[in-house]
């Protein structure tokens, strides 16, 4: 199962994105970023769909995200 990890700019936008995606049948949950990397700590959305689908919905509703990557296969 593919999981899309969307790095969100804040917890607030993570919840907004989560509600938006769940309302459209996309299983997802908020996770604390494991890789803090150069930007520091924060929150991500783990969506059990392809990133393309999740990104399309977030963009349609102007919910910003910082980056996306797919895990699993």
């Amino acid at each position: 199962m593919k999981v899309c990890i969307l790095e969100m700019p804040s917890y607030t936008y993570a919840v907004k994105g989560e509600k938006l995606l769940k309302a459209r049948g996309y299983p997802c949950e908020i996770k604390r970023n494991e890789f803090t990397g150069s930007s520091g700590c924060g929150f991500s959305l783990a969506v059990r769909r392809s990133c393309r689908e999740a990104e399309r919905i977030l963009e349609r509703y102007s919910v910003p995200y910082k980056s996306s990557r797919e895990e699993g296969g």
Binding site: T12, S39, G40
Partner: protein
């Protein structure tokens, strides 16, 4: 138990649901909202987001544009200094509280902005014209109270908002006395609404709101931890975190959510009607007392606040005697020197401000006390 008619300063008593919400938050939400991913932190974060949703729903805003502040003054300072950080011209009204007048004056005295004061008249059309006449090419913001904290006079804020929209000016509204007693929707043209959480929204003291429509950037006046992007030394730009540095007042926020729900459950129209009826009764009871002068003008509209003076009695003296008799009313300038200069009330006023819990009977009894103590009396000692 003293009778509180100083609800314009802070409403008391608070609804049971508000008190329970704050107590529950202290019991349950022990994690730091927006910080960390452990169970306690996530529970607190979810609770805070739910409060944003409730408040956004009440004011026609987006949850992410609801910023929790310490009080209305905090919100107004963030809005005024944040929007005017690049300089420009700003207009305020002649009925402003010091929470608007002082930050505006501070910026003007330091020559960071230029400032104009628009006179407020009883007639809405004259007030709007007063604002219109002061607009310049470099006017960046109009800041005005929706209702005066001194007299309760409602300003024609929808017309002022429309004026601002036409000229591309940011309209910052001080909703301290209006939120919870009149319907306010961000769709009506307010760009930034600042409100107290502890007045008409019945939250605990130490709560306030800044609600943006997202059109005008607000440069933060406080920087610090936001729980996100912590490797960067730059403050995040997105609301609400950009303006919420430091740990949030979670019990306060949960009380504000409960207070907002309480107001919506009863209905703003019903609350206004109840408080307005008490104000009218109070005025009516004192109608035959020529020593009492009400600061109400025929063509103006008011929120449920009655400001008055008693001939030859200093307002503070009168309020002290009322307090001894068990009635809590605020006297003096009500932190609004600009308004008193305009109104010509050099010793200030006494302010009667009921809440949804106030009783008509108590207002009538207070009026009876005032008549009994101050009517035809020449022996009141002013210290």
């Amino acid at each position: 138990m003293p009778v509180n008619f100083d609800n314009a300063a802070t409403t008391f008593p608070k609804p049971v649901s508000v008190r329970l919400a704050a107590a529950r938050a202290a019991e349950r939400y022990g994690g730091n909202a927006g910080r960390g991913g452990h169970t306690l932190a996530m529970q607190s974060s979810a609770a805070v987001y739910s409060a944003r949703e409730t408040i956004a729903g009440a004011f026609g805003a987006q949850p992410e544009n609801v910023v929790f502040t310490l009080n209305c003054t905090h919100a107004l300072n963030m809005a005024i200094q944040g929007v005017m950080s690049g300089g420009g011209h700003m207009i305020i009204s002649s009925l402003e509280h010091n929470s608007v007048a002082r930050p505006a004056a501070e910026l003007a005295v330091k020559r960071k902005i230029t400032l104009s004061i628009a006179e407020v008249f009883p007639e809405d059309s004259r007030t709007v014209e007063s604002f219109r006449s002061l607009i310049r090419e470099d006017t960046k913001a109009v800041v005005c109270t929706l209702a005066s904290n001194v007299t309760g006079q409602l300003l024609p804020w929808r017309d002022i908002a429309e004026l601002c929209r036409k000229h591309g000016i940011c309209f910052i509204a001080d909703g301290a006395q209006a939120c919870g007693v009149i319907e306010i929707d961000m769709g009506s043209g307010i760009n930034i609404l600042c409100a107290a959480g502890h007045k008409g929204l019945y939250g605990l003291t130490g709560t306030g709101l800044l609600i943006s429509d997202g059109k005008y950037p607000i440069t933060p006046i406080i920087q610090g931890g936001t729980g996100t992007a912590s490797a960067s030394l730059r403050q995040p730009e997105l609301l609400p975190e950009a303006l919420e540095s430091g740990t949030l007042n979670i019990p306060g926020i949960m009380s504000l959510k409960a207070g907002t729900e309480f107001v919506r459950r009863i209905g703003i129209d019903k609350i206004y009607a109840h408080e307005d009826r008490i104000c009218r009764r109070f005025i009516e009871e004192l109608r035959d007392m020529p020593e009492v002068a009400f600061l109400r003008r025929e063509k103006a509209s008011y929120v449920p606040i009655v400001s008055f003076t008693i001939k030859d009695v200093l307002p503070e003296r009168a309020a002290a005697e009322m307090s001894e008799a068990g009635y809590c009313l605020r006297a003096g300038y009500h932190c609004a020197a600009v308004a008193h200069a305009y109104l010509g009330t050099e010793n200030g006023t006494i302010r009667f401000a009921p809440s949804v819990f106030s009783r008509e009977k108590d207002a009538a009894e207070l009026a009876g006390f005032i008549k009994n103590r101050f009517k035809n009396k020449k022996s009141v000692k002013n210290y």
